[in-house]
């Protein structure tokens, strides 16, 4: 009984957050609901990056590209080919992200370490270059630097989503994806990835085809980034090259490091901290926003090197132990 009670106490914050999220549209106004939707989508995206960075030790710096490819695919299908069905456009977007991840992975995984970082950065910029082209047929297709818009909330089974209901849809989709990612990290495959991160030589000696493991992880990362990209384009209705390039990928790294890499759930905390700050501070002083972001980043690096999530867990543990002692 005592064990059960401790267990309950330990997960109280999780329950409270789940309850707050489930009832969010009842008490929060629409702009907050919209902010939380964005946090969930970016949380999922950063988690997919954490699988590569925190779990496999792959310094992938072009991760926003897969997110952007999925978003652009949905937007292009809707705008130029009149494919507005969610059941066609969403899988197409995810497929494109996975397809490109399959190809990029083959090239990038020929090298490791900082060279891997540079190659993925270059490949991310390649996608940025493609969608940023304003001239010619390519420019007409992607809208160039103006981006592509006009994507409506999806319609399923004759039901058209609105901001609040799409919040629930995103919440459910992100929750499912997060649990899938969590399962992967606890599986034999997931521990294989962590083994490779810790000691690739030993992993090879034990029989692990480390290249194949990293490649599969890279493609899975692309898959979940693609899912996040599809959610984002339906949420935002608009995508521009800024969401694809080095700036966006750097932003994801910032969220990952602030939340805590290698913790999976820390990704959502990192996304929440940065997007909430952006929402409030960025609204007050748009020109000072990068400065404040920089200060936050330096602060976390100096005082909470493992990221915010491990700190929060420690804090909560101390609170519980303080009570029972």
């Amino acid at each position: 009984m005592k064990l059960q009670k401790e267990y309950l106490l330990r997960y109280t914050p999780v329950g409270v957050i789940a309850l707050l999220l489930l009832t969010l549209p009842l008490y929060a106004d629409l702009s907050i609901v919209s902010l939380i939707t964005k946090i969930l989508i970016f949380g999922l995206l950063v988690m997919s990056l954490d699988l590569l960075v925190g779990y496999t030790g792959l310094m992938a710096f072009g991760h926003a590209a897969f997110f952007g490819i999925a978003g652009y695919t949905v937007a292009i299908l809707g705008k130029h080919y009149n494919v507005t069905s969610f059941w066609l456009a969403a899988p197409a977007g995810i497929f494109m992200a996975v397809f490109v991840a399959c190809i990029f992975g083959l090239v990038a995984l020929r090298v490791s370490g900082v060279y891997f970082l540079l190659i993925t950065l270059a490949m991310g910029q390649l996608i940025y270059g493609i969608v940023h082209t304003s001239v010619g047929p390519l420019g007409a297709l992607t809208g160039g630097s103006d981006g592509l818009g006009g994507v409506q909330y999806p319609e399923m089974f004759g039901y058209a989503f609105e901001a609040e209901t799409f919040y629930y849809f995103s919440f459910a989709a992100c929750l499912i994806c997060c649990f899938l990612l969590y399962w992967i990290t606890k599986s034999p495959f997931g521990y294989g990835l962590q083994g490779i991160r810790e000691n690739e030589t030993r992993a090879r000696a034990l029989g692990y085809n480390t290249w194949l493991y990293q490649y599969i992880a890279f493609v899975i990362g692309g898959l979940f980034a693609g899912i996040a990209g599809v959610l984002y384009i339906y949420y935002n209705g608009f995508i521009s090259p800024e969401g694809v390039g080095i700036g966006a990928s750097g932003f994801l790294w910032l969220m990952l490091i602030i939340g805590g890499s290698g913790t999976l759930w820390g990704s959502i905390i990192g996304a929440a901290v940065i997007l909430v700050l952006q929402y409030f501070v960025g609204g007050l002083t748009p020109e000072r926003w990068p400065l404040i972001l920089g200060v936050c980043f330096v602060g976390v690096i100096m005082f909470y090197r493992g990221g915010i999530l491990p700190q929060l867990i420690n804090l909560w543990r101390r609170v519980i132990n303080g009570r029972s002692a």
Partner: protein, 250 residues
């Protein structure tokens, strides 16, 4: 008896330095063979070549009847080759139990499985527990490797190599960095654990060599200079010269 390993005319060099020169030997199933030689003799290079981490310049390696000269390390592991490392090569941040589980599942098809948790494979869990109990470390199974002493980590190093029940086990300096007492203890553990596994090991600690090995191979500047039973090697004039020097030099 069946041949587990057959090495033919192996050459390897780093730059202009010849590290292995025309190495040929074979190992029969169940044999315990030690390789000795002074620092720089090429022992670790030979192990790296045999386990697929270094590609030889020329020569052939046959493992259990398969030509593995160009096979990557993980392929050789699947065939039944396992090795330990001279410098601890573990998964430092993972718990001890998961280190052992990773080693057990390394040659199983389930290593690619993504849906069930790693601890759901009860057979592997039982095996891991047996292995850790043999070295009295089951109580530490939840601790990360970094919380273990160097002596304990050396034991884990051996456990990881043995976990996949290899057909051929290569131990690279199993007692490196241990005190004399720890080394004796480790020798006993290896003797208990290896059973009828074929073992090829190298060591500087000659007590360990002569207590475990049935046959000893002597490597000197990349060349095989002698092989024989421990008794023969102990009285071999060439080996005495290598280890003690000749009278002129002394």
């Amino acid at each position: 008896m069946a041949e587990v390993l057959k090495v033919e005319h192996l050459y390897q060099s780093y730059g202009g330095l010849s590290v292995l020169a025309d190495i040929s030997f074979s190992i029969e199933a169940g044999e315990k063979i030690a390789i000795i030689g002074p620092n720089g003799a090429g022992k670790t290079t030979l192990f790296n070549v045999l386990s697929g981490f270094v590609r030889p310049l020329s020569g052939r390696i046959h493992l259990l009847g398969n030509d593995v000269t160009h096979m990557p390390s993980h392929g050789r592991a699947s065939l039944g080759l396992a090795r330990s490392f001279q410098i601890n090569s573990l998964f430092p941040k993972l718990p001890l139990l998961h280190n052992v589980l990773l080693a057990i599942q390394g040659v199983q098809p389930t290593r690619y499985q993504m849906i069930r948790p790693i601890t759901a494979y009860k057979d592997n869990l039982v095996k891991a527990r047996e292995l850790l109990e043999l070295v009295d470390l089951w109580g530490e199974s939840e601790s990360p490797i970094t919380a273990l002493s160097h002596g304990q980590q050396r034991q884990v190093e051996i456990i990881l190599a043995l976990a996949s029940k290899p057909r051929l086990l290569l131990l690279d300096e199993p007692s490196a960095g241990l005190t004399a007492a720890e080394s004796v203890n480790l020798g006993r553990i290896i003797r208990d654990l290896m059973g009828d596994t074929t073992v090829f090991f190298c060591a500087h600690d000659l007590d360990l060599v002569f207590s475990l090995a049935e046959r000893v191979v002597v490597l000197y500047y990349g060349q095989l200079v002698a092989q024989g039973t421990p008794e023969e090697i102990q009285v071999n004039p060439k080996v005495r010269e290598i280890y003690l020097g000749t009278e002129q030099h002394a």
